[in-house]
Symmetry: C2
Amino acid sequence: MSAERKAFRREGEDRRRADLVAATVDAIAVGGVESATVREIALRAGVTPGLIRHYFPGKDDLLRTAYAETMAEMTEAARAALAGAVGDSRQRLLAFVVANLAPPVASGRALSVWAGFIAKVHADAAFARIHREAYLDFRGEIESLLLGVFAESGRMPGEGAAVRLATAINAVIDGLWLEASLAPDLFAAGELAAAGRMAVEAMLSCALAGSPEQA
Amino acid sequence: MSAERKAFRREGEDRRRADLVAATVDAIAVGGVESATVREIALRAGVTPGLIRHYFPGKDDLLRTAYAETMAEMTEAARAALAGAVGDSRQRLLAFVVANLAPPVASGRALSVWAGFIAKVHADAAFARIHREAYLDFRGEIESLLLGVFAESGRMPGEGAAVRLATAINAVIDGLWLEASLAPDLFAAGELAAAGRMAVEAMLSCALAGSPEQA
DNA sequence: ATCCTTGTTATACAAACGAATAATTTTTCG
DNA sequence: CGAAAAATTATTCGTTTGTATAACAAGGAT
């Protein structure tokens, strides 16, 4: 009957911060930003609410950290597909595009988290900065893939052409990622991947691989 | 010193509902979904909080209505550009694409509202249904524009080709719209419109207009 | 003019929120 | 083994939230 105090273990700071960030993302993924309260986050992290403010100055800082890490993870997941891709630069670019249109990058979960954060960009300068960095990092990856394609095919694009093309390809990936994440039941398996391939090939005026395999 | 009761006028139901919806969208646009409280909405609409529940069963219903109307308005704004476009189907398609990449369709305001709602799609079936209808309506507009282009150029696309192409073009528009709305300072004037034109022309394998005017 | 309907305001309430502070346990270091 | 330091829990506080209900007033009907 006596009120027993909760037993606990001291974890390293890195571990605790990572757990809190993961719990935040989980909460947002399931119930949206408004359900990511300090109490809900603490519950998911297996700690009590007060601990959050021991590692973060306030809830907003935790959200910012979660946003930055989520974006970095999504780009990293697409880069991982790159590491496992065999073939020339075109096939690598194709693998990168396709990886962004399948789970875990494209998923209702990822979309909920992303949208919840994106909604804050306009009203919060810190979120705007995080977005910008994540965007430029992602587009930079596309651009470097493009430079590889140009080099292998002996093309010498004009000044700024790679950036412009990367911007357009980034848009295609984002748009298809949205479609795939928002209403996956509207599309047959591989349909959006095929659309992405078609769009990129059209913009590059070259095939990305021999036959329509993988896509 | 006596507590004076606020003077008021009886407005028509349509007018009041429209005002409340507009106030909701305004609140979200400025401060995000979490700032769209019943009190804030009522303040912006010039009424007292209790009136909201006289026209809507609850706050959620008001949000759903605001979402559906916002999406319809965005599509309508792009369609309006279509009505004022001169020329053949290709030029009309180009006008449609470009209209989606400039204010008021592309703007930080529109993005905040859209993202705030989109974040609810995964957790709320009603929002998912509204999204689906808005998406299919928008993509259907693209598809009908495509059919016009095909007819004028004498092309006879295979089964489902128009839908697939409309899906890809929809993705390009969405992606570029995101870029334009999220960080407009990253792009020069007309840069994204040019990218959209390039992408669509590449996918259609035909020019959308004579010279790079308007885009 | 007066009544009736109902649109509208005013007030109240319980729940949930982020934050602050105090109490306590774990870990580390001498 | 004991004491200092720090991580974690527990409790509390003042606000804000959505909703419910009661009081009021505006406009039409008779």
